[in-house]
């Protein structure tokens, strides 16, 4: 972080505290921001205002923070995480858009926004030359509501005719989505339908097809099943349910201002959307770092011993800790990496995992385990090094407010949610932040935590092995190389869009674009999947190549950072050379486009024997002749079955 000014204690003290303390000192904080802005300019205080944004604070406070965030926002396109976002409302979206700007600024996502007049989303989408058409959105957010459904059954209508009605309704929406995709290749974020209580059939409405709530439920199910892959569903129904009907369905604000929900729910709504936008740009959090004492079990293991800590059936408190462990375990199973950061003796800290059968989390679930007496901000950075991930993808959960304050102050890139004193509230406290949103779930996600566990073990091995070659040889690595096909296109697209560090050009492509390239005679696609003696690393690298008459140009080269320094780059370069020869090309052309995050591949092409072939601004160009004298680069990876041919 670049600190533009030495922060006053008023700013620091506020930002390191929990929400309850912040609420009481919010006015002072705003005063301090104003004073600092007058003295140093709006840009200087932006980063402090950013860090005060939270889904836990109220509408008016967020609007106050907005003054420090939006006018000083860097232009879209100047940051690597920028999005051209169109917001098309059923209800009015002005306040929603304003709060989306606030949460996006907090996440470091630069938005260029096109906002349609409320209620005009169909016209905007279908009219060539509309404002939306000229804007050419990357993401279209259809911020619609149940009021935008055009067909409702009349009470008493039978199943068959209601099903037909619902089918017609779906067809209308399909046309909207397909147009967004066909015209602008846009990702669509589509609200499903919120269900207001008070249906006229009462409980019987749950089973009668003509009941409004039954019908909306049916539409929601159809949306989930039938929406194409480029449609990301935003679960407005779930949002309204968790906010509570009384707060969400405040019809005064709809009748008077056409607002989508009660005012205080708008913050939740905007935050929820931005968490999806964050997932779309590949910035969801990746790692959950857990404290141990009073976070995963009750009491201090150093005092009570493994048998004495409170966890498991038999007491309400023990069950609450167990429930939180189960939640963490489920997060792991869906691809979130778990780590432990605890002030303890390492041996003692491990004992409950080893000795207690009633623990749900096992040591094997923890990809990186750090228990020592150093400060936690340093330990978190250490964990980041070991996992080869950035600490800005970390969420740190600790029951101790002092530890939370320390980490917020000295490792401000780590997200640190408030935790209540009662462990029964841990799950909700963590879930409220939507740190781990995802827009797809692939087999890779399910296996990811395992990769990182194996990787941490590999690192241990590497530290012990004095000779890196013998270490690499001991891994018995095997690579499968295939073009992009329907079997791997989701994962390949995900990798293209999520990779920030090992990414030569930071080109982002939608699933549809990747599919087009895979089928095009002008493009060659390569994917690489690596296995070794410690496990399967899955699909870890993708190249998109444009075939020109005499050369093969590398449009995209991304690789997962978890296989750095394994010789994969050498293997890949050799494969590229083979491919170029097969295609009758004389040269391979490379390009490096610097971003805020891809400094690690600045010398990538030079390291692989390419020669510099000019520069344009920050971009550098590289070329490699594939004459017969060119020797393959050394590595320790065996080639497994390689499937030739296009998808």
């Amino acid at each position: 972080m670049t600190e533009l000014l030495a922060p006053g204690e008023a700013l620091q003290g506020f930002l390191q505290a929990d929400a309850s303390h912040r609420a009481a000192h919010f006015a002072e904080f705003i005063g301090a921001l104003k004073a600092a802005a007058n003295q140093h300019g709006a840009h200087a205080v932006r980063q402090w205002a950013r860090r005060a944004v939270s889904p836990l604070i109220d509408y008016s406070s967020l609007m106050k923070l907005r003054r420090f965030l939006v006018d000083s926002a860097p232009a879209a396109g100047s940051e690597s995480n920028s999005l051209r976002l169109a917001i098309l409302g059923g209800p009015t979206t002005i306040q929603l858009r304003q709060l989306i700007e606030v949460f996006a600024a907090a996440e470091g996502i630069a938005l260029e926004i096109y906002e349609a007049e409320y209620g005009l989303f169909r016209q905007e989408v279908f009219t060539p030359g509309s404002g939306l058409d000229e804007f050419q959105p990357q993401v279209v957010f259809l911020a619609t509501s149940a009021r935008d459904v055009t067909r409702f059954p009349v009470v008493g209508q039978d199943e068959e005719s209601v099903a037909q009605l619902a089918g017609e309704e779906l067809d209308d929406w399909l046309r909207i989505w397909e147009t967004c995709n066909a015209r602008w290749n846009a990702t669509v974020v589509q609200n499903n339908f919120e269900i207001a209580p008070g249906g006229v059939l009462g409980h019987y409405g749950a089973r009668h097809p003509s009941a409004r709530e039954h019908y909306l439920d049916r539409l929601n199910r159809m949306w989930a099943e039938r929406a194409p892959v480029y449609v990301v569903l935003h679960d407005l129904r779930g949002l309204a349910a968790s906010a509570g009907a009384r707060l969400w369905f405040d019809p005064r604000f709809y009748h008077e201002f056409k607002m989508p929900c009660g005012a205080e729910c708008l913050a939740t709504y905007a935050h929820s959307f931005v968490s999806l936008a964050r997932a779309i740009v590949g910035r969801s959090k990746k790692v959950l770092v857990l404290d141990l004492d009073n976070t995963l079990w009750g009491g201090v293991v150093g005092d009570l011993g493994a048998g004495g800590v409170r966890v498991g059936q038999g007491s309400g408190e023990g069950e609450a800790f167990l429930a939180f462990q189960r939640y963490a375990k489920e997060l792991r199973d869906r691809g979130v990496i778990l780590a432990v950061c605890s002030k303890n003796d390492d041996e003692k800290a491990r004992e409950p995992f080893e000795k207690r059968d009633d623990m749900i989390l096992k040591l094997s679930d923890i990809s990186c385990f750090v228990a020592n007496w150093k400060n936690k901000a340093d330990n978190l950075r250490d964990i980041a090094d070991r996992l080869e991930l950035k600490a800005d993808s970390f969420v740190f959960v600790d029951d101790n407010p002092a530890e939370r304050a320390l980490v917020r102050r000295f490792a401000p890139e780590v997200a640190v949610p408030d935790m209540p004193e009662d462990p029964a509230g841990y799950i909700q406290a963590l879930a409220a932040h939507r740190y781990f949103e995802t827009v797809a779930f692939t087999r890779e996600d399910a296996a990811r935590a395992g990769y990182y566990t194996a990787n941490a073990r590999r690192k241990e091995l590497a530290e012990r092995s004095s000779d890196i070659s013998s270490f690499l040889a001991s891994l018995s690595m095997r690579m499968t190389m295939t073009p992009v096909s329907e079997l791997n296109i989701e994962r390949a697209t995900q990798l293209i869009n999520k990779s920030n560090q090992f990414n030569l050009t930071t080109q982002r492509y939608t699933l549809a674009q990747v599919r087009e390239m895979a089928a095009s005679p002008e493009w060659r696609t390569l994917t690489f999947s690596l296995r070794d003696s410690l496990g399967d690393n899955g699909l870890i690298s993708v190249l998109l190549l444009r075939k020109q008459s005499e050369s093969l140009a590398i449009d995209t080269w991304v690789m997962s950072c978890r296989v750095l320094q394994r010789g994969v780059e050498h293997f890949t370069r050799n494969a590229l050379v083979d491919l170029a020869r097969e295609e009758g090309c004389r040269t391979i052309l490379g390009m490096y486009i610097p971003s805020a995050k891809n400094g690690m591949v600045l010398d990538h092409f030079a390291r692989l024997g390419f020669t510099a072939a000019g520069a344009e601004g920050d971009q550098t160009f590289w070329s490699l002749g594939v004459d017969p004298a060119l020797e393959p680069l050394p590595h320790f990876i065996e080639s497994e079955a390689t499937y030739a041919g296009s998808a």
């Binding site: 509408y59 008016s60 106050k64 009748h255 008077e256 205080e264």
Partner: protein, 84 residues
């Protein structure tokens, strides 16, 4: 507990980001810089939260109607606070 007018004034200052703003009963919406329909929504939201009151649908936009001024609005808020 400060007078309702003082609390109103604090909330107005916050919403309109104008620490100098002084409310007087005879002022109308046009006398306050930036009191457009968007600011009005923010004002209503802030008032409901800060004062723990709830306006009826018909009352929400009343302040912006002809013949209304800060005085009539203050009396409405006082009535709401007394009810709450």
């Amino acid at each position: 507990m400060p007078e309702v007018l003082d609390r109103l004034q604090d909330i107005f200052r916050d919403v309109f980001d104008d620490p100098e703003l002084v409310l007087k009963d005879e002022m109308t919406a046009v006398d306050v810089d930036g009191w457009d329909s968007l600011a009005h929504i923010n004002l209503i939201i802030a008032l409901e939260r800060e004062m723990g009151i709830k306006f009826a649908t018909a009352e929400i936009s009343k302040m912006k109607e002809p013949g209304q001024n800060v005085g009539s609005f203050r009396r409405l808020v006082e009535f709401k606070v007394a009810q709450a």
